[in-house]
């Protein structure tokens, strides 16, 4: 089918964005005042190390050439060394990425599980008590600061009830699941508020569409109309919303990982910022940006697969 050419074309369209991301990341580190070599190496840099890094990144060359070196190094998987951990940034990221991935996936899963029934209930009982209650809860949910919610959740489930560990990640799968549940729940609670509100709104909008009237006029039951027509059509915008919120979600993990002391990328980023470990900052930001782009790409492709109207 013609519209599936999109699958090939869309990634090509992303090239300018990827280029922009790399420029932005490059400019970000170069705009720190002071000698770049010294900044990249930290305070305890030796003259030899400074000379080496000057050569590797071409720091005496014009800026566009420096950018070229930066790209070349990136292609070779060279993101520089962390001044704190004394290892390659890429290796560092590799060792820290797993908890973050599970945190994000778990949160999305939980959030959808929470939001779907709530939004459905609110839309089907519009204007009744259930709807008002769900709307109020989701409005409160919007304003919950993740770091505070995390502490409250720890206070309740870990300290008072003792069901879950306070912090850390664990060594085997069962332990990790146990450790990750509370962080996932925290992120999911906040995310599900956004999802519930938007899914409810798009369900209500779909319910007002003319084709719903037409379906009623054909004698279909409200249940069939809702599950067969309204729900699938409302999920299409919700997928996009979820993708847009992935960026927000990754931001949330930064905070959550710090609170729960999970050795993930977010915690790494915060520590790197505080200790001025710019190579790590640069690497983590780049990884986060690429992940966001990838998620949006998947959402775009899903939309094309689900909605026959969408063309490039």
């Amino acid at each position: 089918m013609h519209r599936f050419r999109f699958v090939l074309w869309r990634p090509i369209q992303l090239l300018p964005v990827l280029f922009g991301i790399s420029v932005l990341v490059f400019v970000m580190v170069r705009s720190i005042p002071g000698d770049p070599a010294r900044i990249l190496l930290g305070v305890r840099s030796t003259p030899q190390a400074i000379a080496r890094i000057r050569a590797q990144y071409g720091l005496d060359e014009p800026l566009w050439l420096q950018y070229f070196y930066f790209l070349r190094n990136l292609m070779n998987g060279e993101m520089g060394k962390s001044i704190i951990y004394r290892v390659d940034t890429l290796k560092l990221i590799d060792s820290r990425i797993q908890p973050t991935i599970f945190l994000v996936l778990g949160s999305v899963l939980l959030a959808v599980l929470i939001a779907l029934p709530l939004a459905t209930g609110a839309a089907r009982y519009r204007g009744r008590l259930a709807d008002h209650a769900i709307r109020l809860i989701s409005t409160i949910g919007l304003g919950l600061p993740a770091f505070w919610l995390a502490i409250m959740v720890i206070l309740l489930f870990s300290i008072s009830l003792g069901w879950f560990p306070v912090s850390g990640y664990g060594s085997d799968w069962a332990e990790r699941l146990h450790h990750l549940f509370l962080p996932c729940l925290t992120v999911a609670l906040a995310l599900s508020a956004v999802l519930t509100r938007n899914l409810r709104a798009s369900l209500l909008m779909e319910l007002q569409n003319d084709y719903v009237t037409a379906a009623r006029a054909r004698g279909l039951s409200e249940n069939r109309i809702f599950w067969r027509h309204v729900m699938p059509n409302s999920l299409i915008p919700t997928i996009n919303l979820l993708a847009v919120n992935i960026g927000w979600l990754i931001g949330g993990t930064v905070v959550i990982e710090s609170v729960f002391a999970i050795p993930g990328l977010g915690q790494l980023l915060v520590k790197a910022i505080i200790s001025r470990d710019y190579m790590v900052v640069q690497g983590v930001v780049l990884v986060f940006a690429l992940a966001t782009v990838a998620v949006n790409l998947i959402a775009d492709l899903l939309t094309v697969a689900l909605d026959p109207r969408v063309k490039l």
């Binding site: 003319d210 084709y211 037409a214 009623r216 006029a217 004698g219 059509n233």
Partner: protein, 330 residues
């Protein structure tokens, strides 16, 4: 034989304004009834009431009777009503683009009715969908059955919507301005299709429209509504050839005939009233040249002209067969 009899139907909004007031209509099997009126005349609302599908909040049927094959539809519970919708009374709309589910194939939407009302299998329903598409004049139906609504042109979409309605095999089809959004040449094709279905399937049709030209060429009987009330009903030739109500007459005269005519057009002065400001007495009287003090206070009843067969008008000064010559002489 009367299929649907609506008597004294009254629909009120939350404030108690009668948006449809005492409407009495009937449709026979195999008959096309034209329901004519301007926007806000309550014609669509009256038809939605027949399916008990009033749009929006706060609208309610406050009085009257709707009898389908003699049975009182207003007394039905939701479950029995669902068996009436689609199966007994089908409906098609002005804007097929929005009344078809945009992300479901045409074939699936037609098949849904077969599966829901008749328990057809997936395969049967698909075959029947192709057959229905052929019946409504879609070329190459076996291929088109898998298309989505946006891949159809305007006229084809209207045909597809008719096929979706026909899938439930209704006895009565309510067609709400089905040709208004179409070009004239395509409008002609759709009207032909409706006439053809009536002839072949014995389908009764209520054709809601604002266009008297469409009515004249398609319908058997005509009912004219103004501001929520019926003003004139009767056979097509009676109503269009010898209108008894001044509003009907005005409507006929202010539509230019195909030979154009010359000079200024005949108009009905003023504009249709808003629902909250329906005038007392005859609702047409502020715009009527024939109005007298009687018209401002007393609501006229529908009265059949004794010299005719069921040609009724709600006007204190309705023209009757006996003094018809006067009207025609202008």
């Amino acid at each position: 034989m009367t299929l649907l009899q609506v008597s004294n139907l009254t629909i009120e909004d939350r404030l108690g304004t009668a948006l449809v007031d005492g409407v009495t209509l009937s449709v026979d099997r195999g008959e096309i009834l034209g329901l004519v009126g301007e926007s806000g005349s309550g014609k669509t609302l009256a038809c939605r009431a027949m399916m008990r599908l009033l749009p929006g909040d706060g609208l309610a049927i406050r009085g009257g009777e709707i009898r389908l094959n003699g049975a009182d539809v207003l007394a039905y519970d939701d479950k029995r009503m669902m068996a009436v919708r689609g199966r007994e009374i089908g409906m098609i709309f002005q804007n097929p683009a929005s009344h078809l589910n945009p992300v479901m194939t045409i074939g699936k939407q037609i098949a849904e009715g077969r599966r829901w009302h008749f328990g057809a299998s997936r395969r049967e329903a698909r075959q029947q969908a192709i057959e229905l598409l052929r019946q409504v004049g879609i070329p190459d139906p076996a291929r088109r059955v898998d298309n989505y609504p946006h891949e159809f042109s305007g006229g084809m979409r209207q045909r597809a919507m008719i096929a979706v309605a026909l899938a439930c095999e209704p006895k009565l089809l309510i067609a709400d301005e089905p040709t208004t959004a179409l070009d004239v040449t395509v409008q002609m094709q759709v009207l032909h299709l409706l006439r053809d279905l009536r002839d072949r399937l014995g389908l009764a049709v209520i054709l809601i429209t604002h266009d008297l030209g469409v009515v004249a060429q398609t319908c058997d009987r005509i009912a004219v509504m103004y501001a929520g009330r019926l003003c004139e009903t009767g056979g097509k030739r009676q109503v269009l050839g010898a209108p008894r109500h001044p509003y009907t007459r005005g409507l006929i005269e202010c539509q230019p005939s195909s030979d154009g005519g010359v000079g200024r057009m005949v108009t009905i002065q003023g504009q249709p009233p808003l629902a909250q400001r329906f005038p007392a007495g005859c609702r047409f009287h502020p715009r009527c040249g024939r109005a007298t003090t009687e018209c401002t206070s007393i609501q006229p009843e529908m009265r059949v002209d004794p010299g005719t067969d069921n040609h009724a008008a709600a006007c204190h000064h309705a023209v009757s067969v006996t003094n018809r010559g006067m009207v025609h002489g202008q």
